[in-house]
């Protein structure tokens, strides 16, 4: 048996391997075990009995206040709704959505501008055909590219919520603060996606245009933009969905969005209202997801450019 196995062992030893993938997977697994084992998750500052009491109270207080401790009554429920929730539904949802719309538009515009600098073949001396011949020039032309790329990492490496928190201290409370916070984080993401889009295009068309003497700007307007437009819209709508999600919570910081009403209800210990606003937020997110998903499917169908969900960071 073992003799017969020896050629197989040889084959097994020389099989193609991916040590980096394997190593990463192992590292992940070890980390998971270590986190559950020694991450301090099991320490509990509150005793168990208090916890259950907490949970029970929480669940009873989720019922609309006038209905607590009595039977369901549609009239009372309606009264509660039209007094406490109804008047602000429109304002809360509209401001949340409006923030997302403006922010994603600004992020897309910024991302487009930056991507031109951040994409490799566009920065070459002879775009898409060949980089500069001298080493010094190559390094020099790479500087703005690396600078923008680094800047993009900076923008997207800090979460929206942290951006908003920092900007609050500098710009004060206002719609602009929320818009800027959302826009700069997403510009970091969209800028990278657009730049990678340019780099991953099949270069043949651009090379032909360049070989016929197209200037950099003409290359951009007539060759690259048309090829990338549909996919860029898909990215933008995808980011729009995340922007809506994020903008619901920006209100927790005191900015004008749904989160503000949630925070207000929480601070006043009005769990019934808090719960209603959380549900409202989830409704907004589902609705905007559905709309954006519909648009994205249509865009994808019309452009044939297959971009699977995994390629969307």
């Amino acid at each position: 048996m073992s003799e017969a196995m020896s050629p197989i062992r040889r084959l097994h030893r020389h099989r193609p391997r991916r040590p980096f993938v394997r190593g990463s997977a192992t590292l992940m697994l070890v980390t998971v075990v270590a986190v559950w084992w020694g991450g301090g998750l099991w320490s509990a500052p509150t005793p168990g009995v208090a916890r259950w009491e907490n949970l029970r109270r929480f669940l009873t207080e989720l019922r609309p206040y006038p209905l607590q401790g009595r039977d369901w009554d549609l009239g009372l429920a309606w009264e509660w709704w039209s007094e406490r929730i109804g008047p602000v539904v429109v304002e809360a949802s509209l401001s949340t959505l409006a923030l997302a719309v403006v922010a994603v538009a600004a992020a897309a515009a910024g991302g487009w501008l930056v991507s031109v600098v951040a994409a490799r073949p566009l920065g070459w001396k002879d775009p898409f055909l060949r980089p500069s011949r001298s080493r010094g020039m190559r390094v020099l032309t790479a500087v703005p590219r690396y600078a923008t790329r680094g800047g993009l990492v900076l923008l997207r490496g800090i979460p929206v919520y942290v951006w908003a928190f920092l900007l609050l201290g500098i710009m004060g409370i206002g719609a602009w603060t929320a818009v800027v916070a959302l826009a700069i984080h997403n510009a970091g993401i969209l800028g990278r996606l657009f730049a990678e889009g340019i780099e991953n295009l099949p270069p043949a068309t651009a090379q032909r245009a360049r070989a016929e003497g197209a200037a950099r700007s003409a290359l951009w307007v007539w060759t690259l933009r048309p090829q990338l437009e549909a996919r860029s819209w898909i990215y933008v709508f995808y980011r729009f969905e995340t922007c809506v999600r994020e903008s619901t919570v920006l209100g927790l910081l005191g900015l004008n969005s749904l989160g503000w009403f949630i925070q207000d209800a929480r601070a006043g210990q009005r769990l019934d209202e808090m719960w209603a606003f959380v549900l409202l937020g989830s409704g907004i997110i589902v609705a905007s997801d559905l709309m954006s998903h519909e648009i994205r499917t249509r865009l994808r169908r019309s452009s044939q450019s297959q971009s699977s969900a995994a390629s969307l960071p």
Binding site: M1, A4, M5, P7, I8, L11, H12, H14, R15, P16
Partner: protein, 256 residues
């Protein structure tokens, strides 16, 4: 005589086109049968009937004496484990290694603990058997290679090995040597038939090449436009039979 595969006046209609037209066949449990004919003659459809991948529009199909139309899904699955197919496109999963493709085809390693074991540390006896089969087909060295990296001819031989690994009672091969060079093709066919004969299993192979059909098989079935033109032993086949099969075709050829 036990019967492995029987069709009784089977017709199959795809979107208004008759792929098979009242075909009645009976293939014994130890027979080796070649099915010949032009592209679109119905060879592939005929082979796919046995695993209930294609359902007949009219008529009945029996495999190992079980009428396919009447049995439950569970019984069908059990029955299917006694078959092996070599479809035209190989049915190999390119993302798996060759050995994994063979283990995936094993009819009795289907439970979750088998899957877990085969994914991590497959039983040496099975690995040995897999390697032996591949070696006899001339592709032993591919055992641990990603299947997607093989050439067309190699992949086809792996597909044959995969089918034989199942030790099937009925082997259905759809042009298994189409992209293998001629001398290699003879070896592959000989090995396939030999291993089936030794274990007492039936074999049905669809083919292009008349010479192979005559050289290796007990019986040759000629199909044309979904009908059986002849069904006889190869010694009794004359040039006019082959002519009847391919008459009116362009340059005598099929393109596969």
């Amino acid at each position: 005589m036990d019967v492995a595969f029987e069709t009784d006046r089977v017709s199959v209609v795809f979107g208004g086109r008759r792929a098979l037209d009242a075909v009645s066949l009976r293939i014994g449990a130890d027979e080796a049968v070649a099915v010949v004919g032009r592209s679109g003659a119905g060879k592939t459809t005929l082979l796919r009937l046995a695993s209930a991948s294609v359902l007949p529009t009219e008529g009945g199909v029996e495999v190992f004496g079980e009428p396919l139309a009447e049995i439950s899904m569970r019984q069908l699955q059990t029955l299917r484990r006694r078959l092996a197919t070599v479809p035209q496109d190989g049915a190999l999963v390119g993302e798996l290694r060759v050995l994994e493709n063979l283990l995936a085809a094993h009819p009795h390693r289907q439970r979750w603990w088998h899957l877990l074991r085969d994914s991590l540390w497959p039983p040496p006896s099975e690995v040995l058997r897999a390697h032996g089969l591949l070696e006899s087909l001339g592709v032993g060295d591919t055992l641990y290679l990603p299947t997607g990296s093989l050439s067309g001819g190699e992949a086809q031989r792996v597909a044959v090995a995969r089918a034989l690994f199942r030790r099937p009672g009925l082997l259905l091969a759809d042009e298994p040597v189409a992209s293998v060079d001629p001398t290699r093709a003879e070896e592959v066919l000989a090995l396939m038939l030999d291993s089936q004969r030794r274990r007492g299993g039936a074999t049905v192979v669809s083919l292009h090449q008349p010479e192979f059909a005559s050289a290796f098989f007990d019986r040759v079935v000629g199909l044309r436009d979904g009908r059986v033109v002849f069904d006889t032993s190869p010694t009794e086949l004359g040039a006019e039979d082959w002519a009847a099969l391919y008459r009116g075709s362009q340059a005598g050829g099929e393109a596969s």
